[in-house]
């Protein structure tokens, strides 16, 4: 089977999607409504699909296609759907605000700084080491780390249970990106396993979120502070 696009073309695509993902990540720092955040998450999924699709097109291995399929199924369809459903079923409506504890004016520069830091950290191992088996996408690895950082930053600054899940999925996405860019994805079995875990995890979190909402009539996780010391 011949490759439909060359490695370097694929690399460019991946590089661009990495930057796109970073942009989406930064955007999700700005959004105020949960619905928007979920849409952004789906957007991330689509970009990831593009990236893994490009990778698959470049080597046309069945492994790559399988990974692509998983990515699309889980990240573009399943997870946003689950989140959407849970959001719809929440007993209280004002919970649709993301409610950040850090004002956007502050949060956005911080997120930018995180991204810069990611570039700084990856620098010694980054582009210079991209070998013959990865894609020459200099922004992929630092972009992934930046997204990872943004993900946990989101989790640490948002009060809603669902925003935490969103942050978590953002982190997963970052790693997926890194995997595609650096190593053509992980071994397939691992890839499936991870996908299963992520899916189960999100489902489980959704379940717990639902339970919390039922019990507390809010999904404000700052209300979950009885266990301390």
């Amino acid at each position: 089977m011949s490759d439909l696009i060359s490695i370097s073309q694929a690399s460019t695509v991946i590089d661009v999607t990495a930057l796109g993902l970073l942009a989406l990540g930064l955007l999700s720092v700005l959004v105020k409504r949960l619905e928007a955040a979920i849409v952004l998450l789906a957007g991330q999924g689509i970009l990831l699909g593009v990236a893994s699709g490009a990778a698959a097109l470049s080597d046309m291995g069945w492994r790559s296609w399988a990974a692509f399929a998983v990515a699309v199924a889980v990240k573009v369809v399943a997870i946003p759907l689950i989140l959407w459903v849970v959001l719809g079923r929440l007993p209280v409506h004002h919970d649709h605000d993301v409610e950040s504890v850090v004002p956007v004016k502050l949060a956005f520069p911080m997120a930018i700084a995180l991204v810069a830091g990611a570039y700084w950290v990856i620098e010694p191992v980054g582009a210079a080491h991209i070998g013959p088996h990865g894609f020459d996408a200099p922004n992929a690895l630092p972009g992934a780390l930046g997204l990872l950082m943004i993900g946990i930053f989101l989790m640490a600054t948002r009060k809603r249970a669902l925003t935490q899940v969103i942050g978590l999925v953002t982190m997963e996405n970052a790693i997926f990106l890194a995997a595609v860019a650096a190593t053509h994805g992980l071994p397939l079995a691992v890839e499936f396993g991870i996908a299963m875990d992520v899916l189960t995890g999100v489902a489980l979190m959704a379940l717990v979120t639902h339970e919390i909402g039922r019990l507390l009539a809010t999904t404000d996780i700052d209300r979950l502070r009885t266990l301390r010391g």
Binding site: P124, I152, M155, A156, Q164
Partner: protein
């Protein structure tokens, strides 16, 4: 040299007996059974025999029990030093075992452990103490050491239902466990240096310790062993824990267990380190002086008989440590012969203390059994109800006050000689001052000890009873007297014929200091170390002299003039009838000393007047006086307070906010990334 040579396996017999005692106690669990106690006595007897045999053997006995893990071998060794301490453990144990037969039946309730538990724990206690002095590797020492603490902890807390005992036991085990941590570190330093965990390797590598390691080792050993020995200010557990245990156990804890710390100091500082620097000796002497002086002063301030005895243990440990310091200083100055003398002085005093302190604790136990209290202010007049106990107790008091001709004096006499020897040998004004201060403090301590035990014996046994319980006191059982009598006899015997001990100590000092000192104090010889220093003390002659000059004239006079004309009449107290409340109380007795040494012991006094009607009519006066040692407030309470406050501060970090937690993860990641890059 000896007619009877015991096989090496004989060393197992005492442990076998102790183990049997534990099993028997657990199996029988019936009140009144004397079998475990008898087994303990048997174990102690055979232990003493094995120790004596060990002192005679030219080669140490070595044995490997088994390895817990390949790197941790439980190995044991009976060398002269260990054998001597085994003797120190076993002799009072014989008496304690005998005493226990009757005591445990008589004493119940009051938070004491049930008889079977006390017997079983006592067996285990003796076995673990014996193992401490036999241990020959890091792991065996630590195991034995911690077991000793653990077992005695259970003896202290008794049935556990008394908050006071529990508190005492808690303070005890925590301090002893933390100090074990210091010891562990000290041994680990040795291990690092020697590359092996057995004492043989430590000995072999003694010269290889670097300067810093040596100093660290010394400080750790001093902290670790000092806590167990009860050196001030590491002693706070001691006056709490010792009195709380059953009396025959208190006797062993105070008389014997603290000595294992001295054993440890000897082992580490003499065998595992070469060429000790001078300041170690200085440090030990100063620490000893502080403990000796403050120890006896606190003892004087106490009303509880067993607390008095416990504080007096602090004092005697101080005295022993002064001796150790002198020996170590002499060692660093290169005077092996006088160092040997100082060691003999130390060890003789140590042995003697184990005898008379045990005797006094047993006496206190007898008093508690008979009256149900140990509070001096509720005692008095016991000499009528308990005449034999009074004799034993006064014997012990004479010995502990270091009076000739009993054994307490021998040790202190030797110690004075060693200090003088140190002064003469060093020939430097600094050390002379040290010697003067140490000697003066020793004399002061001895005189205060006299005051303390005049008070204990006088207020406790003489004059009118201060409570109904004291009035109704009756003599205790036969086995208890056997225990006390045995020790009283030993007190006298060792006072008159201390040569026995000097002989036994020869191999010990030879192995430690490389020299022997054998002061011969007997009818004929009296000169010790003629080259260095000469003094003389002939206990037997002193007794002869006392009898000839004091008792004989009295008897002669009685013979000549009959009973003398004497009649009995009430004590004259300015014309009223004597009441117990008029008598000098224990608190009053100590008042002059409290006033004189107020700067040292800082007594507190609260006087409150209640004037409900007007300033001129006082309806009630509340007077409270007590000694709250300053180190408790400034050292321990502050440290505990700091820990608690800091803990509360830190625990606020666990705020319950998941976002904070996520931030921790995030920050940790960033920090580690920064470090790693």
């Amino acid at each position: 040299m000896s007619a009877l040579d015991l096989p090496h396996s004989f060393l197992l017999v005492p442990f076998f007996c102790y183990a049997l005692a534990v099993v028997a106690a657990l199996a029988i669990r019936r009140p009144g059974g004397a079998l475990p106690s008898l087994l303990i006595v048997l174990g102690a007897l055979t232990g003493a025999l094995a120790a004596i045999d060990g002192l005679r053997q030219s080669e140490p006995i070595e044995a490997v029990a088994w390895a817990i893990i390949p790197a941790a071998e439980l190995s044991f060794r009976l060398d002269p030093l260990g054998a001597f301490f085994l003797l120190v453990i076993s002799v009072p144990a014989i008496a304690a075992g005998l005493y226990g037969i009757g005591y445990l039946n008589a004493a119940h309730g009051h938070g004491q452990p049930p008889r079977w538990a006390a017997d079983a724990l006592l067996g285990a206690f003796l076995a673990s103490m014996s193992l401490v002095v036999l241990a020959d590797s890091l792991i065996s020492f630590m195991v034995a050491w911690e077991l000793m603490s653990l077992v005695s902890f259970f003896l202290v807390i008794g049935d556990g239902h008394h908050a006071d005992s529990r508190r005492a036991g808690y303070v005890y085990i925590v301090m002893t466990h933390i100090s074990a941590g210091f010891l562990f570190l000290a041994f680990l330093l040795l291990l690092r240096n020697a590359g092996g965990a057995d004492f043989e390797a430590f000995r072999a590598a003694a010269g290889a310790l670097s300067g810093l390691e040596r100093e660290a080792l010394f400080l750790l050993a001093l902290l670790g062993f000092g806590t167990k020995a009860g050196l001030i200010p590491l002693h706070v557990w001691l006056p709490r824990a010792h009195p709380a245990a059953p009396s025959h156990v208190s006797a062993l804890m105070s008389g014997v267990m603290v000595k294992t710390a001295i054993y440890g100091l000897l082992r580490v500082l003499w065998e595992f380190v070469d060429a000790p620097p001078q300041w170690w000796g200085w440090m030990l002497i100063v620490a000893g002086v502080v403990s000796a002086l403050l120890g006896i002063l606190y003892a004087l301030m106490e009303r509880d008989l067993k607390r008095i005895l416990a504080y007096s243990t602090v004092e005697h440990v101080g005295i022993i440590v002064i001796g150790l310091g002198a020996a170590l200083l002499l060692e660093s100055l290169g005077h092996a012969a006088i160092a040997a003398l100082a060691l003999v002085a130390t060890l003789v005093h140590l042995f003697n203390h184990s005898i008379f302190k045990s005797l006094l604790f047993l006496g206190a136990g007898a008093i508690q059994t008979a009256t149900g209290t140990r509070d001096l202010e509720r005692l008095g007049g016991l000499i009528r109800g308990m005449p034999r106990t009074a004799v034993w107790f006064i014997t012990g008091a004479l010995a502990i006050a270091a009076l000739p001709p009993l054994n307490g004096f021998v040790g202190e006499w030797l110690l004075f000689q060693s200090l003088l020897g140190l002064g003469t040998a060093a020939d430097a004004v600094g050390i002379a001052t040290l010697v003067a201060i140490a000697g003066g403090s020793l004399a002061l301590t001895a005189a205060l000890a006299l005051a303390c035990f005049v008070r204990a014996a006088g207020v406790g046994f003489l004059a009118q009873p201060r409570s109904d319980a004291a009035r109704d006191s009756r003599e205790v059982g036969r086995s208890m007297h056997a225990g006390m009598g045995l020790l009283a006899l030993a007190t006298l015997g060792l006072g008159l014929f201390p040569v026995v001990l000097f002989e036994a100590l020869e191999p010990v000092t030879r192995s430690l200091a490389g020299a022997t000192a054998r002061p011969s104090l007997g009818l004929g010889g009296h000169v010790l170390n003629p080259d260095e220093l000469a003094g003389s003390y002939a206990p037997v002659l002193v007794v002869v002299g006392l009898v000839a000059l004091g008792i004989v004239p009295w008897l002669v006079a009685r013979l000549l003039t009959g009973e003398g004309r004497s009649r009995v009449s009430p004590t004259w107290v300015c014309g009223v009838d004597l009441e117990p409340r008029m008598q000098y109380s224990a608190t009053a007795f100590a008042k002059p000393i409290r006033l004189i040494f107020a700067a040292l012991i800082r007594p507190q006094r609260v006087i409150e007047f209640k004037r409900p009607v007007s300033d001129f009519f006082v309806s009630e006066v509340r007077y409270e006086e007590g000694v709250h040692p300053i180190y408790e407030r400034h050292l321990y309470q502050r440290a505990v307070g700091l820990l608690t406050v800091a803990s509360h501060r830190v625990s606020r970090l666990q705020s319950g906010s998941i976002r904070a937690y996520l931030a921790y993860v995030f920050v940790t990641l960033v920090v580690v990334l920064l470090i790693a890059r």
